[in-house]
Symmetry: C2
Subunit: 387 residues, 2 copies
């Protein structure tokens, strides 16, 4: 089977999805290359979508004074005893009742608010009430929402809009967050030309790195794609060396199979360790998972549908872990499948499907199955998993 060039290598393994994932994540966890980097401090307003690198504690209470929760009159509750519809009670303004707006601090000594709606203005200097106030009624007491020193956000928390407000209310202006993972993408292939060129026969527009970079960005990473690298072992090794500096994950796109010009496994093997080569899934089978210089390196196949699936299954958990995030499950729905779908023997298949309603039932219709069918990804709403 030797045809002159570098020797065709055989799959080191051809393992199940479960085995591949377990091997991959265990090796990374043991070696530490999935641990978040050194925390950085950002302003609270810049922290949206970032992940806390430490527990966040309040520096101030909120409210930090007793304040009115309603528009009305501040009173001392004991001055209101005995008021009833039968025996309305009058309170002197300025002495027994003080007009107050929502949020205003209660005058010292006052401990309740009567809503404006329940007050009769019987004279310029007096109001009349028909029921007593209970202590602290309609009052926001100190620390009612946040008590200084209280935990506002735990570590490894994805910051959402209310979290911004809670941190500011708790007297904070900055927050320590995990750095965004830097993901290098190395497109390989002598046939690749950059977008915007008019490709000649045999040339292909390089579009995969935009797909992979887009996915990485949506998971919170910064993606750095380099220019296409020709199918040359030294060139790929050089690109890998360059990418290892300053990136937390390196993705070599294509050349991950066992063909004549599939150098990814060779290069990873030369520079580090290949953990997995080949996974029994369809699409996405020709995959290389390895570690070089303590950095996870993924050799991802060239067909875009395979690339997207392998990226989702094997790069996503790493990119999330680097931010201290747990890969929450993708949303699952129960569907009916209008016709039988068989999967190839011995491989778990991920069929791209569109969802729709028929007779009030959610049904999943397969879109084209070819691994090269980029448009099937564009048209699909999700994957149907066939074990």
């Amino acid at each position: 089977m030797n045809s002159g060039g570098p020797q065709r290598n055989v799959y080191l393994s051809n393992v199940s999805l479960e085995e591949a994932l377990a091997t991959w994540l265990e090796a990374l966890t043991a070696g530490g290359p999935m641990a978040p980097g050194e925390a950085e401090t950002v302003s609270v307003d810049e922290s949206l979508g970032r992940v806390t690198a430490a527990p966040v504690f309040a520096a101030l209470s909120s409210p930090h004074y007793h304040g009115a929760a309603m528009d009305g009159y501040a009173v001392r509750h004991q001055d209101t005893f005995g008021a009833s519809e039968a025996r309305p009670l009058r309170l002197k303004l300025g002495e027994e009742a003080v007009e107050i707006d929502t949020g205003d601090p209660l005058p010292p000594g006052y401990d309740a608010v009567i809503m404006i709606e329940y007050v009769d203005h019987v004279s310029p200097g007096e109001i009349e009430i028909i029921s007593p106030a209970t202590p602290w009624q309609h009052v926001r007491t100190i620390g009612e929402d946040i008590v200084a020193t209280e935990l506002i956000l735990p570590e490894n928390h994805l910051v959402r809009p209310p979290d911004l407000a809670a941190m500011l209310a708790g007297g904070l202006v900055t927050v320590p967050v995990h750095p965004q993972p830097r993901v290098a993408i190395i497109p390989t292939g002598s046939e690749l030309v950059p977008p915007g060129s008019r490709p000649q026969r045999g040339e292909i527009i390089e579009f995969n790195s935009s797909l992979l970079a887009g996915m990485a960005r949506q998971w919170g990473a910064v993606a750095n794609a380099c220019a296409p690298v020709p199918d040359d072992m030294d060139a790929i090794e050089q690109a890998l060396t360059k990418s290892l500096a300053g990136n937390d994950v390196v993705i070599i796109n294509a050349g991950s199979s066992a063909g004549r010009e599939d150098f990814t496994a060779h290069v990873v093997n030369k520079r580090g360790t290949v953990l997995v080569h080949g996974v029994r899934i369809r699409p996405g089978k020709p995959l290389v998972l390895g570690i070089v210089d303590d950095t996870p390196v993924l050799g991802i196949p060239g067909f875009p549908v395979s690339a997207a699936l392998d990226m989702e299954l094997f790069a996503r958990p790493v990119i999330l872990a680097l931010q201290g995030r747990h890969p929450e499950e993708r949303r699952r729905v129960q569907v009916r499948v209008p016709r039988k779908i068989a999967s190839p023997l011995g491989a778990e298949e991920f069929v791209r499907v569109r969802l729709g309603f028929m007779d009030d039932q959610l049904i999943a219709m397969p879109v084209e199955r070819g691994a090269g069918a980029l448009m099937s990804l564009v048209r699909a709403d999700g994957y149907l998993r066939i074990p």
Copy 2:
């Protein structure tokens, strides 16, 4: 009830959620202030998360030549007739079979690929096969994925990572997208001090605009929050005038109730039309919805929980519509509630809940109900809707 200052205004209406939403969206649709602005052209790589402003058609086919879908040998299918295990067929390399890698263009006249795995290398100049090839087997034919002039993305499509790749593969480098809606946020309140200050008694750190800006940003908008404006009708009117220039939505935060210092409805009424004042929901009741100079203006209450809910219910559909997006439903789940929750008479209540599992059942536990409880938003996983 007149207490000296500007007259306390009464709710113009106190309508149901459905009525308020219908009035609001109908008025905006009729007047056009929810229509997206003039399309802008961005590079494909910058279009992730943006929304197409026109249908996107392919300029090139993909593939744009017949190419190998597998590593192996290109053949003419008619040369392979009759091959079987009993009668293996030999093909001359260079004449009847040409070694080919995935993605390589087929030599002219060739119309099928035989996978490397199914070939025996019997001599340096010959291969042997044991089954015939069918026409176009393992060949990616021109336009198999994308045909030039084909629709790649419809109008009003939220761009996801595979869409980037499909546009590039289709020979495009730019794409027309709707402009991002610009949302002005005017925090009002003489008691407000900027984050980072040490607030005195009666002063409150201004944190709501970060909450509202964060929400707007997550829905695809650009948020512009100005410095806090004191509770003064002229100052608020001035801030509104300034914000109307260059923004698609204006949010005045607080002062939306009917108290002495609640100027929002007055200002909107003076400068335009108040459509709704007061909605029968809890929290979030004191809400002002209006139109000024063809721009939607929302007066949103000051309590953060009320603010977040009104923002979600009334600003989100407008911000999405300005991008040509339909507000897809929030994810709904069926839950058990461990104890009875009553809602106030005549109002629809949105109770913040945490989700958890108990005996394998998804249960929803209410967190604190107060409208001022920012931490209840931080702790909640969602809303329980009590009609």
